[in-house]
């Protein structure tokens, strides 16, 4: 073959259809006999539901109406726990909580009817922020509003009194809304014989699992199919289970008629999950020469009203909290707390962007306070292969972090531009410039023993036409999963790309390769596909149908003609060196990490306090790059989301509700707000990834915010510690008197 499929910029498989406008997303399907489902929600953050009144002027008898009492199985959206009800049954724990479901053939009438339902409730005092949860004046979960605690300790207790230099800071990040451009949508057809749920989602088997408990049906009577999905970013990880549940309940009650629930933008923004708000306190000790001696980190996440995925998000945040630094004494105390806001959930990065923001801001502050260049302080302390990380994990990745950092700094012109910036700053009234950067890592795949627990399976099969089909539950959500899977399978099979198909994720067809999350699709599931494809090729070789260098398709045809089916499966096996103790939080937190240094040049207007990113460089080591176009696209898109989180994306809360649930006042970056994002890859093949690849999906979310706020420190000399850094917040920092007046 001319070029090996892995490593080449293969065009996106479904690209032609997307460009022709022919791709059908959930709301594009035309389904005969369809009912439109809508959700009646709680207006209060905490309370008791007393009664539901159906108002005048609506032909209620034409409606299908579902309340908690109609649920055939358990009233729960099953994830880690079954604490979150699918519909309120008496107790209201957050605003926008679903109380009642309505369905009608006329979408407009269904929308109108929703506004005519009046809920009679008794409001109770609510806990509306992380700080209020910690005060525990009101208890909304357990003894102290705590969903989960994690403690990570390395080294003996440190003698802080004897520390030569100590720096402390508290860093905060706000909620972030995913704003996938396609709002959530699901279609369900449910009868006692079985249920079919289709829609926009990341994790078919999560929905599958959740519907079993809800409907009291065995797994084989439930089928979940992913339809083309217009973005996810974690936002379609757990919430589609809720929407599928609602649609299925309505359909069940309506005698199996298909029901669609398609959220509009406002409902999607206000009611679905967001990135967990966080507070991180860091105390660090340094030797006079800048050697990092000790780190004490308290990391807190606001989980919202139900546990959902918060313990796992907390875990990833805690495991990244000490950053890419060598340090003898580390203590990380992490805690996810309960509040009465809608549950926060998965969002690209999954806790790591929050804790990495804190440590990477902290290191630049500490450098300045020590009178050092932030690059030199980092150079002294960056992890090197063989060093021990916070959990005792010995770093095996062959990564040269100082070199990554130097490359990023060279690309952005750190050494040349900074003296010029200093001169610029002497001229009052002009926008000030600054360059900041962050060094960080992102663990690929599930935390600790998570991948072993999942035990994912993927398969490759031959067809009678001599083609090959990849079978995995991992979804294409824009990241390029199907293209990458095709490349991986073609490489292992030794066949042309065109001979490989990738099956649509359908629980009736594909094995459970786990959820499409955690930067695991290429690294973990891709490896399963690679191994399954190799096994299939081996079968063909050993059966004598294939000779080395021979035509694999012809061999597959001959094999199938002679023996029937041709299929190989692969089940996850951890790399042999991985040891993890979940009780002690010790060991190899992740089998491998992607590593990066991101640098931002900003201008800060000294009159409007607007910060603009003028240049952005993203240098990363991600193992072998499977597809350069798609990989760069992932980095660029992730950086854009990171820039939005850093500067403009602010969820405004009012009494536990999102007050700005609109694209007009929740501001994601436009093309005019962003510079060209310049991505660079270093490739150091990871032996346990497909063709040497590692996960990259989440990495780019981690670096932009600290890099940008570090740049603002260089430009204006302020220690900004809270995201997003809106002009108002920056004004507060630069001119505290003006802001107070």
């Amino acid at each position: 073959m001319a070029q090996s499929p892995i490593g080449s910029p293969v065009l996106r498989r479904e690209g032609g259809a997307k460009l022709a406008g022919a791709t059908q997303y959930t709301d594009d399907l035309r389904i005969p006999g369809l009912l439109h489902g809508v959700t009646v929600r709680s207006p209060v953050a905490r309370g008791r539901l007393r009664a539901v009144h159906f108002g005048e002027g609506i032909p209620w008898e034409e409606f299908t109406i579902v309340r908690a009492a109609d649920i055939p199985g358990r009233n729960a959206v099953a994830h880690i726990l079954e604490d979150q009800p699918c519909l309120v049954d008496g107790e209201i724990r957050h605003a926008e909580e679903a109380v009642l479901l309505l369905a009608h053939e006329d979408r407009a009438l269904a929308e109108l009817a929703r506004t005519r339902v009046r809920l009679d409730f008794e409001a109770l005092p609510a806990v509306l922020s992380l700080d209020e949860a910690l005060e525990t004046r009101e208890r909304v979960w357990g003894e102290d509003n705590t969903f989960k605690r994690i403690l990570i300790e390395k080294g003996d207790p440190f003698d802080w009194a004897a520390a030569p230099r100590v720096h402390e800071g508290t860093y905060r990040t706000g909620a972030q809304e995913h704003v996938y451009i396609e709002p959530n949508a699901m279609i369900a057809e449910a009868s006692p014989d079985g249920v079919l749920a289709r829609g926009s989602l990341q994790c078919p088997y999560y929905v599958h699992h959740s519907l079993q408990a809800l409907l009291g049906l065995p797994p084989e009577r439930i089928r979940v199919v992913q339809l083309d999905t217009g973005g996810g970013f974690g936002g379609k990880e757990d919430f589609p289970s809720m929407i599928a549940a609602h649609a299925a309940l309505l359909s069940w009650k309506a005698g199996g008629r298909p029901v669609k629930i398609a959220y509009d933008r406002e409902e999607d923004m206000a009611c679905t999950t967001k990135r967990h708000p966080s507070r991180t306190r860091i105390r660090s000790a340094f030797a006079p020469d800048g050697t990092l001696l000790a780190l004490e980190i308290e990391f807190i996440l606001d989980g919202g009203a139900y546990l959902t995925l918060s313990p796992v998000v907390l875990s990833r945040g805690a495991l990244h909290a000490s950053g890419p630094y060598r340090c003898g004494h580390i203590r990380i105390e992490a805690r996810a707390v309960a509040t009465n806001t809608p549950p926060h959930g998965a969002f690209r990065g999954f806790g790591a962007p929050q804790s990495l923001f804190a440590i990477e801001r902290h290191m630049t502050e500490a450098a300045r306070r020590l009178g050092m260049d932030p690059a030199e302080l980092r150079r002294k302390n960056l992890l090197r292969p063989g060093d021990t990380m916070a959990t005792g994990q010995v770093l095996r990745d062959a990564v040269d972090l100082p070199a990554l950092m130097d490359r990023a700094l060279a690309e952005i012109g750190y050494r040349e531009k900074r003296p010029l910036d200093a001169r610029l700053h002497e001229r009052p009234g002009r926008p000030r410039r600054g360059i900041g950067f962050a060094v960080f890592m992102h663990g690929g795949g599930f935390t600790g023993g998570g991948e072993v627990f999942l035990g994912s399976v993927a398969a490759v099969e031959g067809t009678v036409e001599g083609r090959f089909r990849v079978l995995a539950a991992s979804t294409e959500i824009g990241q390029g999963a199907t293209t990458v899977f095709g490349q991986i399978a073609a490489e292992a099979l030794g066949c042309p790309l065109e001979a490989v198909e990738v099956a649509r994720p359908d629980t009736a067809v594909v094995p459970n390769s786990g959820p499409t999350v955690a930067s695991r699709t290429t690294q973990v599931v891709g490896k399963l596909i690679f191994d399954a494809a190799l096994a299939l090729r081996k079968t063909l070789l050993e059966s004598g149908h294939l000779a080395e260098g021979g035509d694999v398709s012809a061999a597959a045809r001959a094999f199938i003609a002679a023996r029937g089916a041709l299929r190989a499966e692969s089940r996850y096996q951890k790399p042999p060196f991985v040891q993890w103790d979940d009780a002690a939080y010790r060991g190899d937190a992740y089998a491998t990490y992607a590593w990066a240094c991101y640098a931002a040049e900003v201008s800060a207007d000294s009159r409007t306090y607007e910060v603009r990113v003028e240049d952005f460089v993203a240098v990363q080591e991600v193992g072998r790059v499977v597809n350069p176009t798609l990989a760069a696209g992932q980095i660029e898109g992730g950086v854009a989301q990171g820039i939005g989180w850093a500067l403009s994306e602010e969820v405004v809360w009012r009494d536990g509700r999102m007050a700005n649930a609109q694209m007009t006042n929740y501001l994601i970056p436009t093309s005019a707000d962003l510079p060209r994002i310049r991505a660079f890859f270093e490739e150091s093949p990871y032996p346990y990834g497909p063709g040497g690849a590692k996960g990259i999906g989440e990495l780019p979310m981690d670096g932009p915010a600290p890099a940008i706020l570090n740049a603002v420190q260089e430009a204006l000399g302020v220690e900004a510690r809270e995201l997003p850094l809106t002009p108002e917040r920056l004004l507060d920092l630069v001119e505290p008197e003006a802001a107070d007046g």
Binding site: G15, L19, Y180, P183, R265, A640, T670, S671, I677
Partner: protein, 157 residues
């Protein structure tokens, strides 16, 4: 409620009509009456540009246009770009540059890009960025979309 009107338009070069309420959103007519679901709804309030179409040579958000206002107009939607199953040069450029990821903003982006090209622009990257700023994409960070539009302009001036 108002009486329905007969809306007739030239849609992607073909005559089409529909009986609709005068204030029906053009977006719903396009998607529901004519089944042209390539045009998307991302916000319904004129902010995201997923519903961008070209009406009488002007780039508009179909979610904001009442049907009555489009009466007799000439409409171009994403389905009208390809000719006989062949992608047009801008679509080709999107494909090759990786300008579409999840694809949901893509039809609107293509219409915005088509409109920019029809105006003789964009002359450079800054113009492309300004010209596409009414269309939100959450996946790509825009590099590849901007590149695709610039490439289409370079290669098919």
């Amino acid at each position: 409620m108002a009486e329905k009107i007969l809306l007739w338009m030239t849609v992607n070069g073909e005559a089409r009509s529909a009986e609709v309420f005068p204030m029906a959103r053009l977006l719903d007519v396009i998607r529901e009456d004519w089944g042209l679901t390539g045009t998307k709804e991302g916000c319904g309030e004129g902010e995201c540009g997923a519903c961008s179409v070209i009406l009488d040579g002007v780039l508009v958000n179909a979610c904001l246009i009442p049907a009555v206002q489009a009466q007799g107009g000439e409409l171009l939607t994403v389905e009208g770009l390809a000719r006989k199953g062949e992608l047009d040069p801008l679509q080709e450029a999107f494909l090759h540059h990786g300008g579409a990821q999840c694809g949901f903003c893509t039809p609107g982006m293509l219409m915005a890009g088509t409109h920019l090209l029809a105006q003789g622009g964009p002359g450079d990257e800054a113009e492309a960025r300004a010209g596409l700023a009414g269309n939100l994409c959450r996946c790509t960070g825009y590099n590849r979309i901007v590149d695709a539009v610039l490439a289409a302009r370079r290669e098919h001036p």
